[in-house]
């Protein structure tokens, strides 16, 4: 069944901007044939470590995956220390970390079914030369990991880009200032 919708609006309404600070972006680059081993390792890590703020998995070619995990900086050692033992640098695997970084995210009505949402966010940041480390957008959510203390809220909400529609959706992460 098909349904026709008109979602376009001159300024995109969101349910509000959320975020967190003092985070570490852990980047693990691993071989695809080790997917099962990495899965098991991360599963085991889950017993001793707090959760993630964000996950992104990409592949640059069919044999290499890039896994980005955004975690609280004060708990990052729990993942970074054992990584040294698990990573197989002889096969080209490596890991990296970027800290401190900030996270901002927002969602809005039917974002997953509308064109132009992510591009509007990128455009707003690009206009102020604010770089983005990673940006996963799925469902109705837009996530942006940025250098620390960029205070991007005014830029995203500058005239012509985004505005808040209503109350924010409760989430475990802290509010962005």
């Amino acid at each position: 069944m098909e349904t026709i919708a008109i979602y376009w609006e001159p300024v995109i309404k969101t349910y509000g901007l959320e975020g967190a600070t003092n985070l570490t972006l852990v980047c693990i680059h691993f071989k695809s044939e080790r997917m099962t081993e990495w899965g098991f390792w991360i599963w085991k890590l889950g017993s001793s470590m707090d959760g993630f703020h964000l996950v992104l998995l990409e592949h640059s070619d069919p044999n290499i995956f890039h896994l980005y995990l955004l975690v609280d900086s004060n708990g990052a050692e729990k993942i970074l220390s054992p990584l040294d033992e698990h990573i197989r640098t002889d096969t080209g695997e490596y890991f990296d970390q970027i800290y401190p970084v900030d996270l901002i995210y927002f969602q809005g009505p039917h974002f997953g079914d509308r064109y132009g949402i992510a591009d509007s966010a990128f455009k707003a940041l690009e206009a102020h030369s604010i770089p983005v480390f990673i940006a996963p957008c799925s469902g109705a959510s837009v996530y942006l990991v940025l250098p620390e203390k960029k205070g991007v809220k005014p830029y995203l909400y500058s005239p012509g880009h985004f505005m808040t529609l209503g109350p924010t959706v409760p989430k475990r992460v802290r509010s962005y200032p």
Binding site: M1, W41, M49, Y115, D119, E126, A135, A140
Partner: protein
Amino acid sequence: MSLISEKIPVGGIKLSNELVQVIFLNRSFSENFRPLFVQVLAKHQVNIPFLSVSCVREQTWGSCCVAAEDIFQVKKLVARDSELKGNVEFISDVGALSIFPHRSTLKLLGLILYAVGNARLPIYGMASSISALTFITGYSCLDKAVETLLTFLELPERHAPLKPEIRIIQQKR
């Protein structure tokens, strides 16, 4: 024999319609991080249900998914844009599988990677949203992916994976 015997309770599984993944090659990014392709799709009112971009230590990667119905238009847009032509690649017949809620737990992430790797299912990307962990696999593999994951996930009683029943078409403005 599986190394993981634990089952993780989840609220549900959602499957997408058929999608096409578009991989951005390095030259398809504007001066900093903004993919040119995303700009072109926005300009021509094409929706992107899944997008991932990374720009870390001078290495830039990215991809997105578009509806299979949009791919003819998308390929036309790419063909007539000199900067995009030759700088994007397509993987057709893919689909998204979302598991919710993820509760920000590494156990669920590890379990998905373990199960998918063990079953030798293709995985073309993964991203978390506020409540769901979504990964991209072959469209024809979605049923097998569900079957594989249900070895490790516990759905609520009488819950079947949600399949899309309507397709939203945006009226051009």
